[in-house]
Symmetry: C2
Subunit: 149 residues, 2 copies
DNA sequence: GATAATTAAATGTATGTACATATATTTGTC
DNA sequence: GACAAATATATGTACATACATTTAATTATC
């Protein structure tokens, strides 16, 4: 559906405004698609993203700083998202021996097992970007990179 | 900067995953650019969006339902965002005479005046999409529409 | 080596998101 | 006209975002 119809706005000032609104709207749309999927597994999107970063580090630990550096949303509060994951026993947290200011965070066996199940389910799940051809996906990335220049 | 460097990820599975991550990341980036701008005026992005919808209706009132219909984020809680705007006296709210379930919401003179100042400031402010050519902006909108098909 | 500056993480507060539930009003049906 | 269903909004709760402040540990400077 065209963006004008999605938000019932008759016209945009120009192609720039239209692209901008479309970008925000589509990203929200994709996030909602995904968060419904993750909910089945008792996770939120940011919780999943942090777990994935931790798996990438495993068996090495990550610090809160490293998580923030790699998160899509730099300003979110990694500390409290880790709290939730720790409550679910998907990660472990202990003071870093070499630098007692820092905290070593590791994904637990239960966390690895959950991500494994998510990987399997994700292959069955089609998210929106699949509607594009590979060339179009590449084209999209280039346009987005240019926006942030 | 390329998306790989932004989030310090070495490689993506394919162009689809890369485009997807890039889309979420760029939309967040744009939102942060804007929210910094709105903050100078004591508004948040959703508050601004609701005010703009109300100005579009002015002098006719809008109901909460109409606001939800036109908002980019359908699931957000329009009622409570209107609460904040009412506290700041930027909108008025009163029971609709013809349907006492509904609430008539109108932008106040102070609200109109604030939006006027924002319009002026916005013309001086360059947001990211301006980095694209008009053709590229159009191309981007088409790709985004295709994602949501 | 004491003290200031910096760094790493946690905490506090206001706002927003997501979704379920509650309350009040109107509409439809017998 | 009583009562069920639908509609419009508000409220409750858990989680996340945004940003300021606090606490603790380390590093730098005199």
């Amino acid at each position: 559906m065209k963006i004008e119809d999605e938000i019932k706005q008759v016209a945009f000032r120009d192609d720039y405004q239209k692209a901008h609104v479309n970008l925000i709207f589509t990203a929200n749309w994709l996030q909602q698609q995904q968060s419904g999927f993750f909910k089945q597994f008792g996770l939120t999107l940011p919780q999943f993203n942090i777990l994935r970063i931790l798996r990438g580090q495993h068996p090495k630990p990550a610090t809160v700083n490293l998580l923030i550096e790699r998160m899509l949303d730099k300003t979110s509060n990694a500390s409290r998202i880790v709290d939730k994951l720790e409550t679910k026993e998907l990660v472990t947290r202990c003071v870093c021996p070499s630098n007692r200011r820092a905290v070593d965070i590791r994904i637990s066996d239960a966390g690895l097992e959950l991500l494994g199940r998510l990987d399997a389910a994700m292959n069955d799940q089609q998210f929106g970007v699949q509607n594009l051809t590979s060339t179009e996906a590449d084209q999209l990335s280039r346009l987005l990179d240019k926006i942030r220049d």
